[in-house]
Amino acid sequence: MKANLFFEWLKSREGIYYLLLALLLVVVFPLALDSFRLNMVGKYLTYAFAALGLVLCWGRSGILSLGQGIFFGLGGYCMAMFLKLEASSPENTAIQSTPGIPDFMDWNQLTALPWFWEPFHSFSFTLIAVLAVPALLAFIIAVAMFKRRVGGVYFAIITQAIAAILTILIIGQQGFTGGVNGITDLRTLMGWDIRTDEAKTLLYFVCVGMLFVCLIVGAWVMRSKLGRILLAMRDQEDRVRFSGYDVASFKIFVFCLAAMFAGIGGAMFTLQVGFMSPSFVGIVPSIEMVILCAVGGRNSLLGAIYGALIVNAAKTFFSESFPELWLYGLGVLFIAVVLAFPDGLAGLYRRYVMPLESKLPAMLRRSASTAPTLPVEEAK
């Protein structure tokens, strides 16, 4: 019965959008782009994870977090720690005073691996940590804040302050974290060289796969009763509370979920870019994640992904072609989205494209039924 429902859903308008996105990411981009550009798209998509989380947390539930970079960074650092340990085998680091520990620790006169690095020898632990570490920190923040009904602007500013704290800490504790340079020179994942073009292409597909997992989890949450409660909570928090719900627990849940999404994004970032540094943890990247989400449409999961793609592509384009101008472009984009298109691309699409689309339903049906791939399944 589940499978039937699934195919029903695929044939719905929403299902078609998902298929189109899958087509774009799985077929069009890999065919149309060389491995260099494809890797860049992969990098853009890692931000889409954070943007997906923000749709749930900000668009759907009204909780604006200016600290998604924290969770993105934590996920990324967990993965980087694992890869760094693998790259720092005693053979590779034979000239160090203490072989077998990461090079930056040796430079900082550490003579043994710090205890919290030890578990990152294990890949399965790392995979769990990528989810659990961001979720745990998010849980602590969320319990402290939401149980006391801190919300809105205050929450935003406090998450921003936490992002600042974490950046200073990582930079200051360079013996443990690699400092401002971050954790660099990552080479292999379980013996598999992640720096080759083939590996990067494969990682791109893994990234797309994970993105669809998150997308589907997100869509499932939005469509469940929980999704409706989140929306209800955003508009009439007291009414929800006096309908017998523990509002804080819902906020905690959605904030943790968003943190986990960002953590996965961070881990994928580390794998594809090959290093992690404190500059992805701080205030600026966190705000940029909000912008991706806002440009895509803060209420639309698919919008968040397109937002991440388009804004980052624009950033690359501007900075390649008009290096002196790209901040203007980005700034104008922010303002335009907020002032003129508060629902972002998704809103524009709904207003201008959808009416056209309903005039051509037959055509769309056909194109959907002829689309042969079922990448959504692949992702599951």
């Binding site: 949450v221 469940s224 009763k225 929980l226 409706r228 409660i229 929306l231 209800a232 508009d235 009439q236 007291d238 009414r239 929800v240 509370r241 006096f242 309908s243 017998g244 719900y245 523990d246 509002v247 627990s249 819902f250 849940f253």
Partner: protein, 249 residues
């Protein structure tokens, strides 16, 4: 007043709350019998809404006790109080405008109230039946799949009452349910309330004396955070203290 404490569904005793020294409710006691419609009236600033806030936990009492079916409410969380069987409607209709009428009622349906529960919640036949029944009671069967934002003011009020009904509370608290309604809507609301009291105890705040006369079993008059008078509508109308407060100024 003779019945023993156990007979009261709600027993409020010595309730006091102060905001930076100002006592909005001062040593108030109030007892409700099961299936009673009690109306609280009083001039602006008498502390009527604060009493409802205190009972449903929105405001924490400084002193005093609120016992509901033998349970002490003052120490409970808001959602705990709701789950214990107290429903509350706000003064301004507060409904979810982006959801349909059906979804509004469904969100209020008392199942799937935990995070996991809400994720696993299914819209089964039982839910649909409950929603449709309530929709019928609140005259909104026709509008079930419209966005709530499109409802008239009166319909929104009814919807919020419906959202309480579907929780099957034992005590319903309504803050000015007919404010802003047309005469026809008022009549319908009074009718609605009468249906409701077949199964519920109701505590209403209202200004409209005509409406109060129509529905009230007993009336409590509040003034400056205290009970001024209590009894049938005719009794309080003739109470000189009440006349003094309403006409003396």
């Amino acid at each position: 007043m003779s019945p023993s404490k156990q007979d009261f569904i709600l027993a409020v005793e010595g309730l006091t709350v102060s905001f930076d020294g100002f006592k909005a409710v001062n040593d108030l006691s109030l007892y409700l019998e099961p299936k009673e419609i009690r109306v609280i009236i009083g001039p602006n600033g008498a502390g009527k809404t604060t009493v409802l806030d205190l009972i449903c936990g929105k405001t924490k009492a400084t002193e005093g006790s609120i016992k509901f079916q033998g349970k002490e409410l003052t120490k409970m969380s808001e959602h705990g109080i709701v789950r214990a069987g107290v429903g509350r409607k706000f003064q301004n209709p507060s409904i979810y405008e982006d959801l349909t009428v059906f979804e509004n009622l469904e969100v209020s349906y008392p199942a799937g109230r935990s995070v996991i529960g809400a994720l696993a919640f299914k819209r089964d036949a039982e839910v649909i039946k409950a929603v449709e029944e309530v929709a019928e009671t609140i005259f909104l069967t026709e509008m079930l799949h419209q966005e709530a934002a499109l409802l008239s003011h009166g319909q929104k009020q009814w919807l919020e009452i419906g959202m309480l009904l579907i929780q099957k509370p034992d005590l319903l608290m309504l803050d000015e349910p007919v404010a802003g309604m047309s005469v026809a809507e008022r009549k319908k609301t009074a009718e609605l309330l009468r249906v409701i009291t077949e199964n519920h105890t109701v505590l209403v705040i209202e200004h409209d004396m005509q409406f109060v006369g129509d529905i009230a079993d007993r009336v409590t008059v509040m003034h400056q955070g205290k009970v001024l008078s209590e009894g049938s509508i005719d009794h309080v109308k003739q109470d000189p203290k009440v006349i003094e407060v309403y006409l003396g100024h």
